[in-house]
Amino acid sequence: MSSRAGGSNSEYVNARVRARRARLYDEESYRRLLRMSPAEIARDMEESTYEREINELGARFGGVDLIEYALNRNLARQFEAILDWAEGQLYDLLVRYLRKFDAWNVKTLLRGVYSDTPAEEVRVDLIQAGDLDADRLDRLADASSVEEIVEGLSGTLFGDALADALEAYEDAGLLIPLENAVDREYYEHLTEELGIAPELAEYRRYLRAEIDFRNAINALRLARSGTDIDPAAYFIEGGDLFSERDVRRLAGDIDELVAYIRESTYGDDLSEALDELEDADSLVGFERALEAAQLEYAGSLGNVFPLSVTPIVAFILAKEREVDNIRAIARGKEAGLGSEEIERELVIL
């Protein structure tokens, strides 16, 4: 696990992040992109913060793939820069949060070797924005078995969890135990030993909300699937909304689960999404509402403690959302979806 000695330099990082935040796409930019074709979007990106990535990847990829890979590479580059600026506890907090990309990369490596995908194709799908160094990821992309990847990750955050889940993988022949072990390890480590510093109180609250939202959507997915799975197996500790017992009790009855969320502290923020969920046969709208609520919540926390870690996390979320939105517009255009339909899928704050 990486760490950097010394005190936090939140002021400095926040100042740099504020400048980057000002360059994020606003509502008007998205509306402009909605009127463009994928090729025009790529050209537009060439004149924005994505210029370097579009130029780097332009010879290798084309169309919407170019846009998606450029977005991912820019995301990685931006977050890598934040980690480079950060020091001390701030670095530890941010690296914990950004390990979600390590989790992504580990899962990509596992899926690649599981499905015999060529190493080069696996490499382009990696988003190097986390803590795992590029050399290790590069080496692991050439691995020939799942066991080799698990062994190659020993000594990292995911090493022990993956080693423990390896037997279950070998028994079932499915990646689920390994993937769940990676995600669980990420979430559990996120809230571990955060301390009781008052400036971190808001950040802790935000992380709890993120875990609550994750647990809520997963409980709803399990309830919707109607399968006989122990919901506790997919429960993440560290949130406020559910206990393991609550999830086990509620996952069998979707109406009760919706009523429970409605009565919780998130009830007001999510009431519209819950209404939609009760009417529609889809969780996508609710998931989108959760993403918007999470983004809004992180943004508001950033205003309360402008020099803490939360404005930086709020920027990370906003940047991820920008990437998601641009990709959604380009992919939506590629698939022939109408502008209004694409706009409904966007989360713009």
């Binding site: 919407v64 990509t108 993937e179 769940n180 995600d183 919707r224 996508v284 998931e287 992919r331 698939a335």
Partner: protein
């Protein structure tokens, strides 16, 4: 061709037997054709329903995967798909509809539980679930459509074959057999007439010969009688 047939009574009997058999076969095939057409109409209705469901499922699956690719990214969707190596299993049996052997396709491991799809639940999203759901339903529709449409095509082929057989019997074989029958009957009648005529001729000739013989006898007798009288005298 009627001229190729030897006009014998044996052949006539054989042709009569063949006509009877062909007429029976024609009736049976006609019944089979009508039955097949009725079965085909049922399958056609079913196939139309299955086809429209398939189109709706395809539209839905495309919409879901487009949205999943848009919101989660192509990389995430491909990754989730790559997390499963288990393919659906198909077993085919056959069933018989009025003599037509049509396939019956049984599938397993198409519809999967959320914990059987390979990708982890904790790090994935409902969009991926819905795309997977929609594609599982699409695969089930494709399998059903394959079963129904193959049955439909086989029925159609069989109807076509039966129709050709009925037509061949009705417009080719039976008319030819009847023509042959008529030809032989005519020939036989002609032969009979010739025979009668010949017999009559023979009879007439015989009678003429007999008459001539009698006349000769009478004349010779008459010639003998005056000589005897003159001797007495």
């Amino acid at each position: 061709m009627a001229e190729d047939v030897k006009p014998t009574r044996k052949n006539l009997m054989e042709i009569e037997d063949r006509i009877e058999l062909s007429e029976r076969g024609h009736d049976t095939l006609e019944q089979k054709r009508d039955g097949l057409i009725m079965e085909f109409m049922d399958i056609l209705d079913q196939a139309q329903d299955v086809r429209s469901e398939l189109e709706a499922d395809y539209e839905r699956a495309q919409d879901r995967i487009n949205k999943a690719r848009a919101m989660e990214g192509d990389v995430a969707v491909r990754g989730a798909a790559a997390a499963l190596e288990e393919y659906p299993e198909l077993t085919t049996q056959s069933k018989n509809i009025m003599g037509v052997v049509v396939p019956q396709i049984d599938s397993s491991k198409v519809k999967k539980n959320i914990d059987e799809r390979g990708y982890g639940l904790l790090g994935s999203s409902a969009r991926i679930d819905e795309a997977a759901d929609a594609y599982e339903e699409l695969i089930e529709s494709i399998i059903l459509a394959a079963e129904v449409e193959t049955a439909m095509k086989k029925m159609l082929d069989e109807i076509e074959t039966t129709k050709r057989r009925v037509n061949a019997l009705e417009f080719k074989l039976l008319p030819e057999l009847r023509e042959n029958q008529e030809y032989i009957e005519q020939k036989l009648m002609e032969q009979e007439r010739e025979e009668i005529f010949r017999l009559k001729k023979i009879k007439a000739k015989k009678e003429a010969e007999e008459d001539e013989e009698e006349t000769v006898e009478v004349e010779s007798e008459e010639e003998e009688t005056p000589e005897r009288v003159s001797a007495d005298d």
